[in-house]
Structures are given as C-alpha cells and as structure tokens.
C-alpha cells in the first residue's frame, strides 16, 4: 500500500501556498476586503445574532460596500451558539474564505473557545462577547471588544446607585453563568465601595420557567440590580411587576434593558434605570442616521448587538483608511485596528486600551413612556469608562477574574 508521508503532504501544501502567493500581488488591490461574521442564526441565541448581522449590513449599505476605496465583502457564518460550532466556523472563515477580519462571536463561551485559535492564526477579531478575561488576564493581541466587558457598565451602575440614587441595600439577580457573575460582581464591588451593601445575591438558572420563587426571596432592600440577557429580561420584568414589586426600584445591566427589547416590553419596564454603552436615544447625527436606516431596512429599533457590529465595522473602515486600503500585512493591519480612535460612532467616541477593550461612554438611562412608545432616556453620561473602572489596570488585574465567589459578598443576610 503506498504510504503518504507527512513530508509529501507538507510539500504539496507548501507548493499550493507558494502558487497562491505568487499569484497574489498582481490582484492585491482588486480583491475585495473580506469581513467574516460569526453569528448565531439558529437556536436560543438567534435573536441577538440576527441583530448583529443587521448592524453590519446597515453600515455596508451606507458605505456602498466600500471602505477606503476598497470593495468589502461580508461572509456570514452561523455558529449555532456553541463553542465547537464557533471553532469550526472560524476555521471556515479563516482557512477557506480567507477573511481579513472576523466580527463576532456573540456568546462568551464561543469567544473563549476561539481564543487560542485566533492567537495562532493571527486574524484580527472583534467580538461583542463579554468574556472579561480575553481582554484582561488572558489578553490576546488579535482580539478586540468594541462593546463592553460584562462589568464595564455594571461598575457604572453600582456607582450611580450608591452615589446619585443613595441606595444603601441592594439585591442582585442574574442568570447562573459567567456573564451574570461578572456583571453582578462589578456592580457589587463599586456599590459597596460607594457605601452600599449587597445583602442578597440570587442566581436563577439560564432557563427558568418562572421567576416567582426567586423574586420572593428578595426581601427588604432599596433596589434590585439585574443582569439578565436574551429574552429573559422580558420574562423577569413581567414577573417582577406582576408580583407588585415595582415599589422596589429595578436597576439593569445593558442586556437586561437593551433598546431592542423595548418592543416586547410594556408598563412593567417604566422606571427601570439601566447602564448601557449604547442607547438608541443618543442625540448625534451618526446615531440618528443609524437608527433611521435600521428602521427603514429592518423595521427595528437597534440595540447593543446591532450597534456593536456597526461600530466594529467603523473601526475596520478607519483602520483601512490608515493603511490605504491594504490588509495583506496582517500584523500591520492589526496594529492599525488597535490604534483606531473614532469620534463619530452611534455610541459616541471610541478608543481602545492596550488590552484591546473599548474605552467609551456609558450612559445611565431611565425607561419612560413618550408618546405611547417606551424610550430609554439618558439621564447621565459617564465619559471614557475603562474596563478597569477607576481601579487602574495593574491593581485590577492582580485580583482574580470576577466570579460567583469573587469578590466575596460579605454583607449577605
């Protein structure tokens, strides 16, 4: 039986690659710039995934699919919302479609599954996934996050609750997974630093048919902070209002009061105070255009998932402008991406810290009914919020990543 040696295989591959490389320079500028989108179109996370796709498509339509004079092509891949799928699809985008940059994925565990692979391949990736450590203790030179870490908005929420709203006793409730832990730990840390006490922490499972038993445990507090995501916030807020709990003010992280959810919410959402890095109500020309185009093309009010991908696209565009439309040198292009600083994005000014995470405004909003429509009205803006809040990166990174047990909750009753 003829044996195929590894060497023969490698030689074959090398010859193929060489042929491809030799053919390259002549067509370098003519080839379109390829954006690979890792999104979720099937399964429970599909709603956020579809919003992501709409966001980047809106930007491409506005620019006539041309960034810095170069044609842009979007290749979309459905990960199915699981880590193995994300890995396979990332390999499809990088190794088969030869994309220049990847936008996505959506979920934290998907990003964590890709972390080493992206490091190995060196294809820049911009994700909305909040898995904090990817831009903290396991920082990856090719991964950037234009949205926010889990705790980035919740730090702000904790500060606002303690210092402006003067709440002293809080309960937290969020899904029993990493994104929930990281958000609520961030809230607890800043809230307690500001003089408050988190006296109850509740962790319903990801799929909870009825929140009543959890809400019943909340007890005597000044406010309840929640960090739900997906469609859970709708279910939770309805149960909260139905149980007559609205006398205790409700605070929310960005996914728990995302603008895209407003169409599914009613009076139960009125009065909820949330901290978010994007708000459809932001009064800037670029955001108004974005909101109008999203309404026209997709008939939706955009939330963070769409805005995040739109902004990621803007960052790619800015990087291409810096390199004169060139992306052949992956390293140089990656450097250009990380050095991007933008003023006009739907969320406001955007720049990146040396860990690849965004530094940008975080808005405190109060949900109101205006002319029959629910609106998240901005009541305060914290400018240039870093993922490390005011702790400084060195001190922050010396601690373990936020988890269910860290920082320890010392004031539980």
């Amino acid at each position: 039986m003829p044996r195929v040696t590894r060497r023969a295989v490698l030689a074959g591959t090398a010859a193929g690659t060489a042929a491809a490389v030799i053919g390259m320079p002549a067509i370098a500028q003519a080839t379109p710039f390829k954006i690979g989108l890792l999104t979720v179109k099937t399964g429970p996370l599909a709603q956020g995934g579809i919003q992501m796709e709409q966001g980047i498509m809106t930007l491409l339509k506005q620019r006539g699919s041309t960034f810095a004079g170069r044609k842009v092509e979007l290749v979309s891949a459905d990960t199915g919302g699981n880590p193995a799928g994300a890995k396979t699809k990332a390999s499809e985008l990088i190794e088969r479609d030869n994309v220049d940059v990847i936008l996505g994925p959506l979920a934290a565990f998907e990003l964590l599954a890709l972390n080493d692979y992206i490091r190995q391949k060196g294809t820049p990736l911009m994700s909305l996934a909040a898995a904090e450590d990817v831009t903290q203790r396991q920082t990856n030179p090719f991964i950037m996050r234009p949205s926010a870490t889990s705790a980035q908005c919740c730090h702000v929420l904790g500060d606002y609750a303690a210092k402006e709203l003067k709440y002293r006793r809080a309960a937290t409730i969020s899904e029993d997974f990493a994104f929930g832990y990281e958000q609520m730990s961030g809230f607890q840390r800043v809230f307690e630093d500001g003089g408050g006490k988190v006296v109850k922490k509740l962790w319903p499972p990801l799929v909870t048919p009825d929140y009543t038993p959890y809400i019943a445990q909340i007890g005597n507090v000044d406010c309840v902070a929640n960090g739900f995501a997906g469609s859970n916030p709708v279910k939770f807020m309805r149960a909260y209002a139905d149980l007559g709990m609205k006398r205790i003010p409700l605070l929310a992280g960005w996914t728990a009061m995302d603008d895209a959810l407003l169409k599914s919410l009613g009076d139960e959402a009125v009065g909820v105070v949330s901290a978010a890095w994007y708000s459809a109500s932001l009064d800037s020309p670029v955001n108004k255009q974005f909101v109008a185009d999203m309404a026209k093309d997709h008939n939706v009010l955009p939330g963070g998932y769409s805005a995040g991908m739109y902004i990621a696209g803007q960052v790619v565009e800015a990087a291409l402008q810096k390199t004169g439309g060139k992306s052949d040198d992956k390293k140089a292009f990656n450097e250009a991406l990380r050095g991007v600083s933008l003023q006009d994005t739907p969320r406001g000014p955007v720049k990146f810290d040396k860990y690849g995470n965004v530094v940008g405004d975080v808005h405190i909003r109060r949900c109101e009914r205006k002319g029959g429509q629910l609106v998240n009205t901005i009541v305060k803006t914290y400018p240039d919020v870093s993922q490390f809040w005011t702790y400084g990166d060195q001190a922050f990174l010396a601690n373990p990543v936020y988890s269910r047990d860290y920082p320890p909750a010392k004031n539980l009753e």
């Binding site: 891949a77 880590p83 193995a84 088969r96 934290a108 964590l112």
Partner: protein, 345 residues
C-alpha cells in the same frame, strides 16, 4: 483492475480502496478547512461506532454517551491545565472514562429498553450538571482551554493535515478492533443477548456480564473519540456534555444503520457535513437535517447503509429479470434495532 479484483475478494478490495482514499484525502481536498471537516467526521465516527456497540449489537439504546465522551475530554483538559503531560492526562482520561462507563453500566443495566434509556439519560444529565455548576473544578460555563496538541514521536499535529492523520490512525484502529470484536464469540454472544435474552441466559451465558463488558468497550472508544474532540477543538465546555451531543450521536447511528460497521461512519459524515458545510449555504439547515431524517425513517428505516444495500439489490434484480421481485422496496427484514424486544418472553 481485473487482476486486482481477481486476486482479492471484492470486499477486501473495497476496503483497501477506501483506506487509500482516506490516506490521500488531504492531498486532493487541499484546503485546511475541509481537512478539518474530515477529521471531525473521523472522530465523530469513532464516537458513533462506540455507541453502536450498545445500540446496534447490544440492543441497548443509550442517551447518556455525551457524559462518557466529555468525561475523557474534561479529565484530560483539567489535568493538562494543571500542568501534567499529555501521556499522563490521556491515560488518566481513558481510565476515568472506563471507570465512569462501569458506573453507568452498574446503574443502567438493571433495565433494558426505555428504562435503560432513561437511566443513561439521567446519568448524562448529572454529569452535565457537574460540568456546568461545579465551577471551581470545571471552570463552569467558561470551559477549559488546552494550549497545545500532543507531539507523539516528535510528529507535529498542530496543523490540519497532521491532526487528520492522527484521527485516521485512531479511526482505523477503532474500526479494525470493532470488526474483531463483532466477529468474535463475544460479539456473537452480545448479539445473542440482544435477540434472545432469555434463551442466552438459559444456555448459561451471563447476560449482565456480557452487557457490562460491552458497555466498558463502548465507554473506552467514546473516551478515545472524546480525546480527539478535545485536541481538535483545544477547548471543552458544558455544551459538549449536553443532551444534544448524545442525541446527535444516536442520530448518526440510527441514520447510518445500527449493527453495521459502515452505518455509523456514514451517519457521522452526514451529520457533520450538514452541520458544518451545508449550514454555510442554508440558514435553516436544521430543517433540512430533520427532513433527511424523516426521509430515512420513511424509506430506509433500517438506516442508510443497509437501506441502500437493499435498494441496490432490488434494482439489480429488476434490471436482470425485468420485473419487480415479489418483495417490493419495503424493508424486508430490518435487523432488530434498539430494544430488540421480539425475543421469546
């Protein structure tokens, strides 16, 4: 060609051709992405074959095999993360997986049929719960990363081709050993316990023990597949332990054809290709997969491989004799698949 087929039995020739084709596959597909898909097909085929030992040959339908698959992956990943070498981690992973299979077997072999299915399902869910909730051990939802693939004998497996050949070697070893097991007296007695449980017992066979050994064997190969899965993804998280993984493996076995060696391989190829390749072109690939399964169940309830063989035989007969055989293309004698309850009671 005729000389070759004259020398060898057609079956041997076909197998040799298939192996040859698999050996040169990275050369003609070229692209690393497709080579990776081929690797996935191979290790999922190992997993499906492992499950098939119980489902097909033992008549015991398990819905908890993801637990075994992931047990190997998690054990190895956690040991690697704590700084142990690949050899230690992999050996320990296989031992732990076989031990887990023994626990599965002791608990679930009290029953057959639906009872067996429910017990394996429950154990699988318990393991999922541990992977998901015991975060201090398993890192919970965030999963465990494996920073590198092993380098046995100095071979570099970090590339797509290298890893494919590892999968191929393991796959061939698995198919070969499974063929030996199936044809051995043990394989015959396992089929005996499936078809005629009480008669086997009456003949003096220890039915429980035969099934127990079959479970260990199935667990071992599931563990091997789990290790390949871990090294392929270099990441493991609770999703792998979830019920969908077990169900998918069962679908591979049933779609391809239970109690055949080729069936689970074809089933694995079908599912992996639908999930990864077709999904790039069709958004509702889940629906397409569903329709394919319905078609398989309607027209080839015994599975793709035996079903195709039957249709082929029928078509050949028709061509030769110009009229349909009395037994039209309905499934003639589907092998008793899951359950195998038609034995004398």
């Amino acid at each position: 060609m005729s000389a070759v087929s004259g020398l060898l039995a057609p079956r041997t020739a076909a197998i040799a051709m298939a192996v040859l084709l698999l050996l040169v596959l990275p050369l003609w597909v070229g692209n690393a992405y497709y080579v990776n898909i081929a690797s996935q097909i191979l290790f999922f085929a190992v997993f499906a074959l492992a499950l098939n030992v119980l489902v097909g040959y033992g008549g015991l339908t398990s819905l908890g095999h993801a637990g075994l698959f992931a047990m190997a992956g998690y054990t190895a990943a956690l040991l690697l993360a704590r700084g142990h070498g690949h050899l230690v981690a992999d050996t320990a992973a296989l031992l732990v997986t076989v031990a887990t299979a023994a626990v599965y077997a002791v608990l679930s072999l009290r029953a057959t049929g639906i009872g067996f299915l429910m017990i394996t399902l429950a154990i699988g869910q318990i393991l999922w719960g541990i992977a998901y909730r015991w975060a201090s051990l398993t890192n919970g939802d965030n999963g465990v990363n494996v920073s590198s693939r092993p380098m046995p004998f100095g071979l570099d497996l970090s590339g797509a081709d290298g890893f494919y050949y590892l999968c191929l070697v393991v796959f061939l070893a698995c198919v070969g050993s499974m063929a030996v097991v199936v044809r051995s007296p043990f394989g015959a007695s396992l089929r005996g316990t499936r078809d005629q449980e009480r008669r086997m017992a009456a003949l003096g066979y220890d039915v429980w023990l035969i099934r127990f050994w079959a479970f260990l064997l199935s667990g071992f190969w599931s563990g091997v597949a789990g290790l390949l899965f871990l090294y392929y993804n270099q990441f493991i998280s609770p999703q792998v332990v979830a019920l969908t993984t077990s169900a998918e493996a069962l679908l591979m076995v049933i779609a391809g054809g239970t109690a055949t060696l080729l069936g689970p391989i074809v089933g694995a190829a079908l599912v992996v290709i639908m999930k990864n390749v077709v999904s790039a072109y069709i958004v509702r690939w889940n629906m397409v997969l569903g329709i394919i399964f319905i078609l398989i169940v309607s027209f080839m309830p015994e599975g793709l491989v035996p079903g195709s063989a039957r249709l082929w035989a029928w078509a050949r007969h028709r061509l030769r004799h110009g009229k349909p055989k009395p037994a039209a293309p309905g499934p003639v004698a589907a092998p008793p698949a899951s359950g195998g309850k038609e034995g004398v009671r």
